[in-house]
Symmetry: D2
């Protein structure tokens, strides 16, 4: 398979998620990481790019320059795709511009600062004919793929209950006042948008619930909190959920569960049984059956769906982790760009739109005295 030439916007030295993107795209040898604009500070961008081993001529000062100059290079050299690993307020414009220049786009979630922006981006995207991937990383885990397939084939029967949780503890204190850049942009409405925790991690939990269950959210009832003093965005929340088949559930997203790391987990129950997947033990999928022995499926093990195996690198018992899940996204995206393989699947524009609708509906619900708020992607005027 031809390597895809990829660049990066943001993710300079020291940025957590930039490094993960690089690990993930490099791992399988499917991309040629060739250029980037790694910081709004031109000097830092240069230094970062050099530390990544890039040719200096292809380290740029900003994303506009990156897109323009790369577009002028000969086709066999030119960047084909770009990964935007910037804070939320720097999603919409760079993504729009990249698509307009004809580059495929990889984007962190949430897709934009608002649902309105997301829909505008959708139009640009549709016109562009290019691919767009949104890094809902957790759907890249083999056993998350398997969970979806188990629900699909009826292993747990008709879904009745969905419980999804994403507790973190790292924002339990005012880290944003102690120099943490990660904390600063996430707690600032200008860079993070309407939501804090609900945007940062709530969207992952929401996406995971819809992805595995195959259902769509229809109503929410949210308790949205600003727990740590001085916060203007939510750092905690819990949401009651209603789905389009009548199933109900609950979603928890908090960044003030002191002592928790990144403990995403989901449990889905149907009329025949339930399933459990936990990010702390990501290579295990538990299927609990009514009046039968519980079954444990394992990454690389026997009796798994072809799509699960397509996203697995090692034999059973060789743990695959977060970077592998991330790399699975990039791998699927590469196959998609090269138009290969029928098992290819990754989150994109549609998931981005729904994620923004999630943020807006839970924040609106949080402010409402009424119990239920509709989850709405489009209003009555076809918007």
């Amino acid at each position: 398979m031809k390597k895809i030439k990829i660049g990066m916007v943001g993710g300079g030295q020291g940025a957590f998620i930039g490094a993960v993107h690089r690990n993930a795209l490099l791992m399988d040898g499917l991309y040629d990481f060739c250029c980037g604009a790694f910081s709004s500070d031109a000097t830092k961008s240069k230094e970062s790019g050099k530390s990544f081993g890039l040719n200096e001529s292809r380290i740029y000062s900003n994303y506009q320059e990156l897109f323009e100059k790369e577009s002028l290079l000969p086709a066999q050299e030119r960047m084909e795709a770009v990964a935007l690993v910037t804070p939320n307020h720097l999603h919409y414009h760079p993504a729009k511009l990249a698509l307009e220049y004809g580059f495929h786009v990889v984007l962190d979630k949430p897709i934009t600062l608002s649902l309105k922006e997301a829909k505008q981006l959708q139009k640009v995207y549709e016109r562009s004919g290019k691919k767009l991937m949104l890094t809902h990383t957790y759907t890249g885990y083999p056993m998350v793929k398997e969970a979806k397939q188990q629900v699909k084939k009826g292993a747990i029967g008709t879904v009745r209950k969905i419980y999804v949780e994403y507790p973190q503890g790292w924002l339990s204190t005012q880290l944003e006042k102690k120099g943490s850049k990660q904390a600063q942009w996430r707690t600032n409405p200008e860079t993070s948008g309407l939501a804090g925790a609900m945007g940062d991690i709530g969207t992952h939990a929401f996406n995971l619930a819809e992805y595995i269950s195959g259902l769509q959210l229809t109503q929410v009832c949210a308790d949205i909190n600003k727990v740590v003093e001085g916060r203007v965005l939510d750092d905690d929340g819990a949401v009651l959920l209603k789905f389009n088949n009548g199933a109900s559930g609950a979603l928890i997203a908090t960044q003030v569960a002191a002592g928790e790391e990144n403990n995403l987990n989901i449990r889905i129950y149907g009329d025949k049984g339930g399933l459990v997947w936990e990010h702390n033990n990501p290579n295990t999928l538990r299927i609990k059956l009514l009046d039968k022995a519980e079954q444990i499926y394992r990454t690389g093990g026997a009796m798994l769906h072809p799509q699960t195996n397509f996203n697995t690198r090692t034999p059973a018992g060789h743990p695959e982790g977060y970077i592998e899940a991330f790399a699975n996204l990039y791998r699927n995206f590469a196959f998609s760009i090269n138009q290969q393989h029928d098992l290819v699947e990754y989150p994109g524009m549609e998931e981005g739109i729904r994620g923004m609708a999630f943020i807006e509906s839970v924040i609106q619900s949080g402010e409402s005295n009424l119990k239920w708020t509709d989850f709405k992607v489009y209003d009555g005027n076809n918007n």
Copy 2:
């Protein structure tokens, strides 16, 4: 210590919880199980009593007869306490009568069919000068005691979040139509009261949350569901919670989580850390600390509170289970009746009243379009 002569109402052969009560009260040799009325069917009562090795003269046909005849026996023979192990609709009258006759009372939760009845019972109880224990079994586990003490001494700081779950799966199908007596009375409003799952297990979860945290519930927002076709009482629900110190949380109680057994668990987070206790692994208490190694405390292990140890029978590594937790309640009750030991503690009238208020507030919230419903024990008229 003098053995306490105890009788039983209900709990004939084949009744699950009656057998557990007997195991629990017999285990420590603190009670003399001497009499009872085990069924509304006099023949069954006789047979049951005989199978328990009781003297036939003290096996009665109904609770009225039990109380009356026992009260006429000489003091050194006479029953002193009675365990009522009947469905909910047979709590109030037998308990009232027992107290009026001067017997101490052990009662399953919920304490009565309504908050109003509970308050009436409270008056009888207060006049009686007798003891009353409500079998919120889970508070009898050593590591639940330890959890309470850890919160109290500030191990996790000021409590911010409480998540408590009680998923069961046994009512995932219409068992009540397949001859299950356990299912029949629990799904019937006449025998169960206002609530199904919320009364049967939601009250345990609620009690556990207040017990460990030392906080009191102030507001609820409930999604109450009748999932299995034909049910007239809830078999499932989720509740958003607000507590009197500003903490918030969520409570899940469901009997349709197919594949789950009896998976009660609680997580409480403060500003310094969190704690986790799971009924499936009841001898372990996890304390997760912000920026420190997690700590695992174990029943019988080192560094535990005296009250924890008072409720422990074996050295570390010898698992103590459900019957031991139940026996701890009976053991505390016996010490209380004999007025011994300053570590004695068990759930009683107050927990019963609050449990009924929980049921009434979550059912009311479930029917309300407003988000928040006050948790109220007493109305404005001192009732």
Copy 3:
């Protein structure tokens, strides 16, 4: 069922295992605990007996007096069985005498101080026509019963490998010099016999291996250690094992694994799969299958053997612990004495003899320069 009148030798106030025996025999209401000689100190014996609520006339100063006086009581009052909960050097004589007086006997393991004594006791036992139970507690767990049945029905195929471990840490320091009676008698050859750890816990591990696998040990190769300074008996050891069907394995028994509690566990592998049982999580049996999903069986759950269910008290999800396992032994013994129920099963004389042979063969192997030592119950002279 008629209650069995039982007495006790040893197990006065403060003795760990005496209290467990009482909890276990009382729990199910199958025994009438009526008498005992609880200490070699007559005053202590009296005080203990009174604290247990016994009639003073039936608290004795020593076991000889107990047996003699009880044997003279009318049949409907007289003790029928006696539990000997004394250190190892007080097993043989009291057991022999009890059998000769016509009492059924419950005895802690190891059965005697030597294999020779055990065989002498066997002769007395066979002549007596009485029942004898040896408290290999761990075989009383429901999921240990299930494990045996799963092997028997071929779930894991022909057994090839057996790994059994019993790590404890409580003897990691010289507790015997710090006033611990538990440590003192176990580290003293006069009261403990030929072996320390191998007798105290190694015999449990050995018994569990033979019980579940249905195989018999044929050869051992032991590394026997005295780790803590000053010990004259082993406090640690590891043994390579050969079984009569050609299977091999390893047994670990140590009391100096600092930080371990009582972490008995066993894994058995056949040509189709393996099983895992762990005392720290005793209500779970894992069946790992070659090229299939792992299966989790749970106490009280679906699809279990009748014998498993016969030894289960509560529905799935209500943890049963050490005292319940112990009570299962007593319950089976009571059914056996009353000649009821075809599922009845408990460890007895045969297991006692094999346990002594285990101790003698591993200690002999530990002193040998040759790799393999035969496991021999009988020598060539029919002894």
Copy 4:
């Protein structure tokens, strides 16, 4: 840091470990994967190389050609290091030749077919001045690093017991007769050497024990088995261990534990406590302390050694797996070649020599009637 130009011998399409090597070396962008000889079949080598995106001119037909032709390229193009991912019989000659040509070498374990060969390679290596890394992958895990440091700083006191296990189940049937290449070369003495399971996985377990404990093995007593019919090399074994400080232990390595995946785990106990690391849960290190609460350390979490953090890519709660551990080896090797960073550490020649001595001593012990066999690296003649 300058990228290191690396080539590969073996590891064509479909080979498990070759793919892992590529994932691992590519992930961090520290190597330029530029050439290789991927199969003894020149056509297959070409196809594989092209599928990896290599320039055709640098895909060679065999390792001799690879080394010769690369050595003739200009310095700025020429391969600097080579990864040998071939079966055991193709370790010695390619490694020797590579070193003689002046290439750094990455080598799978065991290092050669015999201890004698290993020592010959050592001489070549010492003369070469080049670096050699042996891929004992498991020492690349962050929590294995942490375990070593915890022992070093005395967290568990003086080491007394080491238990290490490596159970796999994949060779439970005659896979080698069903077309599995992985099984074929591992069960064939010509390609695998003196040992089967003991060489393939026993060496990993041995290395892990010495690595974490900081101790050296001095004596072994091995039970070595050929369980599956027709095998001429061991597929199973258990070894009693003695270490140079007097500590003892046991090692289990089996490939016939049907149902097990790759369940390496180690427990080390000192006089103050013990530690547990399990490959199935590799980001957790449990420190069990005598008379204190157990402590749980987690990859990316607080209070870890700088060397642990140096081998960690993501914040706590983002699982790092097998490929990351492998990548850590490559990362340390790259830093070493570029002579940077004082935390750099990786297994090499010394571990290779000791691994061969392990294989030879356990196989010799397996054939001996004596209990103990010395673990010897060098004989009396300075060999």
